[in-house]
């Protein structure tokens, strides 16, 4: 019979090995899934994990990699800080939308004026929008003790409806021949979040993501506040004893993750996406949850996980095009990855022993 024995300290080896094992296990299970769908499993895996990087036409895909990974990393960094403290913001998708709406609102209000101040103002507005949206669950949690999980999630649906309302109503392009959606910001130089190096996919949002990784690293491993966040997650009572105010921590963590998600949304609407439409959001806010866990809530891990997850998005598109693999297969694939990760995580805290008798 299998028997679990708690380790005296978390295993360093398994902390690093678990994500790798989980990715391999997901590849195996994914191969099974693809085979069940009647697609050649080896080819599908190659298309998802290899071709976008090193296959034919990889030039084009490599740029896409940064475009997709940028928002994922940016959002996941903020989420990871909260998750470390045991504060579950699962409404990043909503904060992403509201950040994009706020940023776009600034641009659309100022159109067609040109000024170098417009873009920074949009960044600020995006951050503020996401922050404000996240402060709703934060306020309700600290004031009334309402679950931040449920409130932040409900607000995603509210934000989605708000987005649709804006796309069909106030933000609709007056010169858009009746089509829903806002003006395209890519055609508005002062507001356009253009590629910094042509063809690289590198835009300001990617730079912000890298800064977020470094900032999160400094916060979590060097700063006293990061230390307190970790204590709050591991032992809430010990944190209070150490003088950490739970309410302040909730406001900080939700506010930070909201602002980062909002900024991500703003960079997206001003850059790769270009306009507010009712289908502007692409589930980055939810996928970032997987990225945060896959990266072990560690900023450098998130950097790697974000790139990997972006790869599955691009590879998924490619497999959709070439093999007719349904788009949803990639979503299931990503969910599976999180499952395997959580399941194998047991190995970091427990040792598995075989035992003859009952315990």
């Amino acid at each position: 019979m299998i028997h679990l024995e708690r380790r005296r300290a978390a295993s360093r080896f398994w902390t690093l090995a678990v994500p790798v094992v989980a990715v391999l296990a997901t590849m195996l299970a994914g191969a099974g899934l693809f085979a069940a769908l009647g697609k050649p499993p080896a080819e599908a895996l190659r298309m998802i994990f290899w071709d976008p990087l090193l296959g034919p036409n990889a030039e084009y895909f490599r740029g896409q990699l940064l475009v997709k990974a940028g928002p994922l990393i940016l959002i996941a960094c903020g989420l990871a800080v909260g998750f470390r403290a045991g504060i579950w913001n699962i409404g990043a998708e909503g904060q992403y939308i509201v950040g994009a709406l706020s940023g776009a609102a600034v641009a659309l209000a100022l159109w067609p004026a040109e000024s170098p101040l417009i873009f920074p103002t949009m960044v600020l507005a995006g951050a503020l929008g996401g922050w404000a949206w996240a402060m709703i669950p934060a306020f309700l949690k600290t004031r009334f003790g309402t679950s931040e999980i449920l409130v932040s999630l409900m607000l995603v649906y509210v934000a989605q409806n708000l987005l649709a309302y804006m796309a069909f109503g106030p933000m609709k392009n007056p010169q858009g021949f009746g089509f829903p959606g806002s003006r395209n910001l890519q055609q508005y130089p002062s507001a356009h979040n253009a590629e910094l190096i042509a063809g690289s996919g590198l835009h300001w949002g990617v730079v912000a993501a890298l800064l977020a990784v470094i900032g999160t690293h400094l916060l979590m491993s060097r700063h006293l506040l990061g230390f307190r966040i970790r204590v709050a997650g591991e032992a809430p009572r010990a944190a209070r004893f150490a003088g950490v105010s739970p309410a302040r921590l909730i406001r900080f963590c939700l506010g930070l993750s909201g602002a980062l998600a909002g900024v991500a949304g703003m960079f997206e609407v001003a850059g790769p996406s270009g306009q507010i439409t009712d289908s502007f959001n692409a589930n980055y806010g939810f996928t970032a949850i997987i990225v945060a866990f896959l990266g072990r809530l560690n900023p450098w891990g998130i950097l790697a996980a974000g790139l990997l997850m972006a790869l599955t998005y691009i590879g998924g598109d490619l497999a959709q095009l070439m093999l007719g693999l349904p788009a949803a297969a990639i979503q299931a694939f990503q969910g599976m990855l999180l499952f395997f990760l959580l399941a194998f995580d047991l190995l970091t805290q427990y040792r598995i022993r075989w035992k003859g008798a009952r315990t």
């Binding site: 024995e5 005296r8 300290a9 978390a10 060097r222 700063h223 006293l224 506040l225 230390f227 970790r230 204590v231 591991e234 032992a235 009572r237 010990a238 944190a239 209070r240 004893f241 150490a242 003088g243 105010s245 008798a357 009952r358 315990t359």
Partner: protein
């Protein structure tokens, strides 16, 4: 007890190992029907493991048990209960949100319908003098009443052997008397009792036989009435222990003062603090006794600043500090060490270095402009480890990897080395081996020698008698008026713990009235046991 009676339970060669520990090693002894048999030993001597094997919670690695001559190897508690073995746990296995009858029903294998069960509970509780209302929610009951739930749960099954694990640790001396009366009645009716304790006088007054465990082995089986408490203590500890040396200092001026301090309950079933008042002087140990769950945690939380009280209720040398948080109080020199080591005083999965950072950043230069100075933190942790003889491979080991005693030394050392003006500790030596306990008490006394004031909240009266200058009791969130420890009799303490408070104005002189006599009673913590420490 006559040896002619065949034993009810016979243990032969029972052994059980856990990784790194031999919890029980070749344990053998007998229990006769109707015998009150003590299992005596220090924390970690293997008492709990042994009774868990008898109750079917743990399977022995080797050895055998016989119940009334038949082989007995319960695979689970249900089987043990069916065979007539009942157990009252030290940490009650009760469900706070459920009522008494539901709790009792859960402990029975074929519970009758609720109405019938409620009647049976009333009957048993009257027969054995343990009043209990079956419809009350367990969360609202006192510790003594909760224990009654457990006992009645066992009694309804008509056990032949009743195991009691440290039953008196949560009771006032008066409640102990009631319990002992019940146990003697049961014994007279033929029920054997296996009584686990480390309290020597209790065992001498109640038990027919005592088996003494040390380091997982039986070191002797004896008639406790024929031995002095000192002899028993030496068998239990295996060495003679020094009493702490107390620096002779007269209490100085007032330091910390609580005035009519009240605090709402922190949890659904927790107690509130009601109008607590005391004055702590420089150079004194103020002992606060009381049965668990009467507001000890709340008192520590409000003194440490975790849960600040209303304005004007707490003063430090003329400054109102009631509204300050934990770190502002640390800056003023008020430090604390909560009861719960893992999860409150220390974070289990963080290293000792990080745990040193937990409370050390205010009074020690461990942080520069918000950024942690790892090297300084590590040096501070190493200092605590060295000065307080914490046994650990190093400061990077996780807190939960340390034994209870070593972690407690680390926690107390971390605060003591920050040179507090006021130190508040709750249960400083709970679950700690005797040598570490002595070291901790000594460190607390040394602090008072340097002019600090120390508040020791403890359920261990022996400990308070040993180190406190003045004593007050916490009962249902109310604090009695402090009285000088010297000259206080155990019955007086018992009355204070039982809630006979408010008879003296705050800080009145010694003994302004009640004199209930010097009799130490059966639960006694007489001179002999104190001398052995």
């Amino acid at each position: 007890m006559s040896r002619a009676v065949p034993p009810l339970l016979r243990l032969s060669g029972l052994s059980k190992s856990y990784p790194g520990v031999r919890a029980n090693d070749d344990i053998s002894f007998d229990i006769a029907p109707g015998e009150v048999h003590a299992l005596l030993g220090e924390n970690g001597a293997g008492k709990s493991t042994l009774v868990k094997m008898i109750y079917g919670l743990v399977a022995p690695d080797a050895g055998r048990m016989e119940l009334s001559g038949a082989p007995f190897a319960p695979p689970e508690p249900r089987a043990a209960r069916a065979a007539g073995v009942g157990m009252v746990f030290q940490h009650f296995s009760l469900f706070e949100a459920l009522n008494v009858a539901e709790n009792v029903a859960l402990g029975m294998d074929d519970a009758p319908p609720m109405r019938q069960l409620a009647r049976a509970i009333r009957e048993v509780s009257e027969t054995y003098g343990l009043p209990l209302d079956p419809n009350r929610t367990v969360g609202d009951l006192s510790a003594g009443e909760r224990q009654r739930v457990e006992i009645i749960r066992c009694l309804l099954a008509g056990p032949r052997l009743l195991i009691m694990d440290e039953p008196t640790s949560v009771l006032t001396p008066q409640e102990v008397n009631i319990l002992f009366k019940t146990l003697r009645q049961l014994s007279a009716e033929g029920t054997a009792i296996l009584y686990i304790s480390h309290k020597l006088e209790e065992i001498r007054s109640l038990c027919d036989t005592a088996t003494i465990l040390r380091g997982g082995k039986v070191v002797g089986t004896t008639d406790p009435r024929a031995r002095t408490a000192r002899e028993l203590a030496e068998m239990m500890v295996g060495a003679e222990l020094r009493s702490p040396a107390r620096p002779a200092t007269a209490p100085g001026p007032a330091l910390l003062e609580a005035r009519a301090l009240s605090l709402a309950p922190g949890t659904a079933f927790g107690p509130a603090l009601k109008g607590v008042g005391f004055t702590l002087h420089e150079g004194e140990v103020l002992g606060i006794g009381g049965v668990a769950g009467n507001g000890q945690e709340e008192l520590l939380a409000t003194l440490s600043g975790e849960r600040p009280s209303g304005p004007g209720t707490l003063w430090l040398g003329g400054q109102d500090i009631s509204g300050l948080g934990p770190n502002e109080r640390r800056a003023l020199g008020i430090l604390g060490a909560p009861e719960e080591r893992l999860g409150h005083a220390a974070a289990p999965d963080l290293s000792l270095t990080e745990n040193a950072l937990l409370t050390g950043t205010v009074r020690r230069p461990l942080v520069r402009r918000g950024f942690i100075d790892r090297r300084a933190a590590r040096a501070f942790a190493e200092e605590v480890i060295r000065d307080f003889d914490v046994r650990t491979p190093g400061p990077e080991v996780a807190a939960r990897a340390l034994s209870g005693g070593n972690l407690q030394k680390f926690v107390i050392g971390r605060e003591v080395l920050q040179a507090p003006r006021v130190l508040v500790v709750n249960q400083p030596t709970w679950g700690v081996d005797a040598a570490a306990a002595a070291a901790i008490r000594q460190a607390l006394l040394d602090l008072t020698g340097q002019g600090a004031g120390v508040i020791v909240i403890s359920q261990d009266l022996e400990e308070l008698m040993e180190i406190a200058d003045r004593f007050c009791a916490l009962n249902d969130g109310r604090l009695s008026a402090p009285r000088p420890m010297a000259g206080l009799t155990l019955d007086e303490i018992g009355l204070m713990l039982g809630g006979a408070h408010g008879m003296h104005p705050p800080d009145a002189g010694p003994d302004t009235g009640r004199d209930t006599g010097p009799d130490a009673g059966p639960h006694g913590l007489g001179a002999a046991s104190r001398g052995a420490r």
